[in-house]
């Protein structure tokens, strides 16, 4: 009897609970991207990129008229206020579990501290720590409003562009909101991968510097500088070395990078510290514009390698110089190598590191190796370089 009663009350309990937490998937607004900006009167502005499922083209019905996404821009004093005010305009509550991109405008980063407005994204459980963050110098409305050709949603396009970092060294690896919070906790400067508009299309473009001093925007790195950063951070997985400007005899040459490794050596003598970056790159001959060149000519390979060494070394040194003299910020994270190799020294000078960094002696040596030559026509006629 007791068992029966308890069983019945348990079943009734279930019916009482009902489906209290249920939220059908079509009743939520899937937010794929967030873009943050400031307005002229110093308010925050936030764009939610909602998916509009009805406008997604299918095989049967073909492509519908409208855009498959809806950008809702709302202004306010706090981010949470803006999120909740979405409900004034949109019938579905935003759901951020599928967030793909957080886009920040340069102006926002100039006016507001990153560590302040990032708080919501770390605190709220619906935001994942793996969402990548991007910075743009163009207006965020335009970047988010441009429908890509193949991809349906601009936010996904931006995220997927950043995943091409193994093909090209001109863009940075993506920076997630989790990594960003880590930098902020460690009080380190960092780079945010940039995106921009070029002829109406969204492209990966340079990077923005955020200084640890006040966690605000400090400057913009060009693609060439970003390439140097990638060698310094040991994050090169592929890409190419274009030697067309290095005056290789008979015709320009392009090398494909198969692998690269950067090792860090710290020489500490007395009060001075010297950082030595050793970059070794493995490449293969990707493209050769000189028809009929005998790649087995003695010394030619060494010349090529030497040219590549110079090319890369210059790029690396340019970035280091920019960091030391122009921005006076250690966004390259060179401090961690000093910290690892000379912990005592670093601890002693941690407070004054920003000043010390500008005078840090950084030596760069690059070692390029060509291991593959590929196939070429054997008896091609020499046409001459006319």
């Amino acid at each position: 009897m007791f068992l029966k009663r308890s069983l019945i009350s348990l079943l009734l309990l279930f019916s009482l609970a009902g489906c209290w937490d249920i939220k059908e998937i079509e009743d939520i607004g899937i937010v794929l991207g967030i873009a943050l900006d400031t307005t002229e009167d110093d308010q925050l502005s936030m764009i939610h990129q909602f998916v509009v499922p009805g406008q997604i083209p299918t095989q049967q019905s073909g492509s519908p008229e409208g855009l498959p996404f809806q950008n809702i821009q709302i202004k306010g004093h706090s981010l949470f206020e803006i999120i909740r005010n979405n409900s004034l305009e949109s019938n579905v509550p935003p759901n951020f579990t599928h967030l793909k991109t957080i886009l920040l405008s340069k102006e926002l980063l100039e006016k507001k501290r990153v560590d302040q407005f990032i708080d919501l994204f770390i605190r709220d459980h619906e935001f994942r720590r793996t969402v990548p963050v991007f910075i743009t110098r163009d207006t965020v409305e335009e970047v988010f409003g441009e429908q890509p050709m193949k991809e349906l949603f601009p936010s996904i396009q931006i995220k997927e562009l950043s995943e091409n970092h193994y093909l090209n060294n001109l863009t940075l690896k993506s920076l997630t909101i989790g990594e960003m919070s880590q930098y902020i906790s460690e009080e380190k400067s960092f780079l945010i991968p940039g995106v921009g508009l070029k002829e109406g299309k969204v492209i990966s473009q340079g990077a923005g510097i955020v200084s640890s001093e006040d966690f605000r925007y400090q400057g913009w790195l060009t693609e060439e500088e970003v390439e140097g950063v990638r060698y310094i951070n040991n994050s090169v997985e592929g890409g190419y070395i274009d030697l067309s400007e290095d005056h290789i005899e008979q015709g320009p040459v392009v090398l494909e990078i198969n692998g690269s490794n950067t090792s860090y050596h710290v020489d500490h003598s007395g009060e001075t510290v010297q950082l030595h970056l050793k970059v070794s790159i493995e490449t293969s001959l990707a493209e050769d514009w000189a028809i009929g060149r005998d790649v087995y000519t003695k010394g030619w390979k060494e010349d090529l390698e030497e040219a590549a060494n110079k090319n890369i070394k210059k790029k690396i040194e340019n970035v280091i110089e920019a960091a030391q003299t122009e921005y006076e910020t250690d966004f390259l994270n060179l401090s961690q190598w000093i910290h690892i190799n000379e912990p005592d020294y670093f601890k002693k000078h941690e407070a004054e590191w920003d000043e010390l960094f500008t005078d840090l002696d950084v030596k760069v040596s690059v070692q390029t190796k060509i291991t593959e030559f590929g196939t070429q026509n054997f008896n091609a006629n020499e046409v001459g370089d006319s």
Binding site: F14, A17, G18, C19, D21, I22, K23, E24, I25, E26, I28, I30, L32, V51, P53, G54, I56, T58, N95, T97, H98, K100, E126, R128, I156
Partner: protein, 480 residues
């Protein structure tokens, strides 16, 4: 010396006068004749042979008329007087059975015997003919390879089939009669030496404890000997394939044959044994293991897939990959009912279709599948009542449930899939986990004839995992 007949086993042996007469029956002949001649379905004949008056009684519906003519009436007619002999001496002592009382006489008459009455003596001769269908492949248990014979409704034929596969003198058969009205013959079969004494005792006890008036099928016996009456899971396995029974007997299990039923019960069983098919053993071990593994996965999906889908799309949207989430969101747009109700209705529809398919006569069967597939599936989606993904999920779960070899288990799992659906609808994945815990608790608790149901998983016998998720290879030079 007896030289009465050549066919008799007493031929050329010392003649013992009155082998037959020694057991004189004490029956009131006149009363029997009066009673039997009144019943229309019993034939009573009186034959006069050389001054001897002989009565022949039989039931024509269950006897072979030709046999009565050829081996009873004709020899009697040709009987010639010899000293000290009566017409009954035409038959050998083996053929004749002496009836001692009326109950015995009735029982033999109902078994198809022909009753001979000579003077005060009553004898019975076997002329039984019970019709049964010929041996055919069981419809509910198909196989690709291996023997295709199936049990039929005659218990003697079934034992015959069993002997075809199992020619050992260790095979023991114990006869029982069950049912206070139906007097159904039940045989408990086991192999001496293989079977566990405890199990045997338990089986005997449970058969003797059966208290029923009328037993028509193995399924009824199954339910009357089961202990876990509130459990969804079967405690004994019913099969129509002799090879399954022989396999079980060799493994030390017992089999229960019921007269008039093609279903033979095997006990004890484990959840694992219900997933085994005889095909698993007739193919090479790696492909057979893959098929076995797939069957386990299919069973899991049959139970869990609709409920996982429900909990994902109504509670945990973040767990679905973005592209899939967007396309689900698109397909569900405009569906007027909540996803739980949608899944529930689809599941019910499929159960109805499945049941209808069983009941319908064979020529109409395909019509149901056409109506089910086209009208319900296609039209419901085009009308926007259900989402296409839900149709895929529910129908795939249904197809998965068809891979389960044992029909009782398949029924059980289908019932559980509804419980899971409710759990998922109320509390999402959290509810599902609770339901799985409850199911696990139940499964580890139940036993089939004192054998834990989840053996060898739950009482953990690693060494016996060789025939669970995978079917490990046979040892060279021996089986298993």
């Amino acid at each position: 010396m007896c030289k009465t007949c050549l066919s008799c086993s007493y031929y050329n042996k010392p003649f013992i006068q009155g082998v037959i007469n020694m057991e004189k029956s004490r029956l009131d002949i006149n009363e029997i004749l009066r009673e039997k001649s009144k019943q229309g379905h019993i034939v009573t004949k009186e034959i006069e042979i050389s001054g001897h008056s002989i009565y022949v009684i039989y039931m024509p519906s269950i006897t072979k008329n030709a046999e009565i003519n050829n081996s009873i009436l004709s020899p009697l007619m040709e009987w010639k007087y010899r000293k000290g002999q009566t017409p009954v001496h035409t038959f050998s002592t083996e053929q004749l059975q002496v009836m001692k009382n009326k109950d015995e006489l009735d029982a033999h008459l109902l078994d198809g015997y022909t009753i001979l009455i000579e003077n005060e003596d009553v004898y019975a001769l076997d002329t039984a003919y019970f019709s049964h269908r010929s041996i055919s492949e069981p419809v509910s248990e198909m196989t690709l390879r291996g023997s295709r014979d199936g049990f039929i409704e005659s218990i003697q034929e079934n034992i015959n089939l069993l002997r075809v596969h199992l020619r050992t003198t260790d095979l023991q058969l114990e006869y029982y009669t069950v049912g206070t009205k139906s007097f159904t013959n039940v045989i408990l079969a086991y192999i001496q030496g293989e079977v566990n004494e405890e199990l045997l005792k338990e089986a005997r006890k449970r058969i003797e404890e059966i208290n029923a008036e009328y037993v028509s099928d193995g399924g009824l016996i199954e339910q009357s000997i089961e202990k876990n009456t509130y459990s969804l899971f079967p405690e004994v396995q019913g099969t129509e394939r002799p090879i399954k029974v022989t396999n079980a007997l060799v493994e030390g299990k017992v089999a229960i044959f019921v007269d008039g039923s093609p279903t033979v019960l095997i006990a004890p069983i484990t959840l694992n044994s219900l997933f085994q098919t005889s095909d698993d053993y007739s193919f090479k071990w790696i492909p057979a293991s893959l098929v076995r593994l797939m069957r386990y996965i299919a069973a899991f999906l049959a139970v869990m897939l609709p409920s996982i889908y429900i909990s994902l799309i109504s509670y945990h949207h973040g767990l679905i990959p973005t592209d899939l989430a967007i396309s689900i969101s698109k397909t569900r747009e405009g569906v007027p009912i909540p996803s739980f109700m949608e899944a529930f209705l689809m599941q019910v529809t499929i159960e109805v279709l499945r049941e209808a398919g069983i009941r319908l006569p064979k020529p109409i069967g395909p019509a149901v599948s056409i109506v089910g597939a086209i009208v319900l599936g296609e039209a419901a989606v085009t009308a926007g009542i259900v989402s296409p993904l839900m149709v895929i999920v529910v129908s795939f779960a249904a197809i998965c449930s068809f891979t389960i070899p044992d029909y009782s288990l398949s029924l059980a799992l289908r019932a559980i899939s509804f419980i899971m659906l409710f759990a998922a609808a109320i509390l999402g994945i959290y509810g599902l986990i609770i339901a799985i815990f409850l199911l696990s608790i139940h499964l580890v608790r139940i036993k089939s004839f004192s054998v834990p149901y989840l053996e060898p998983f739950a009482p953990y016998y690693y060494k016996r995992w060789k025939d669970t998720f995978i079917r490990f290879r046979f040892k060279k030079g021996g089986s298993q």
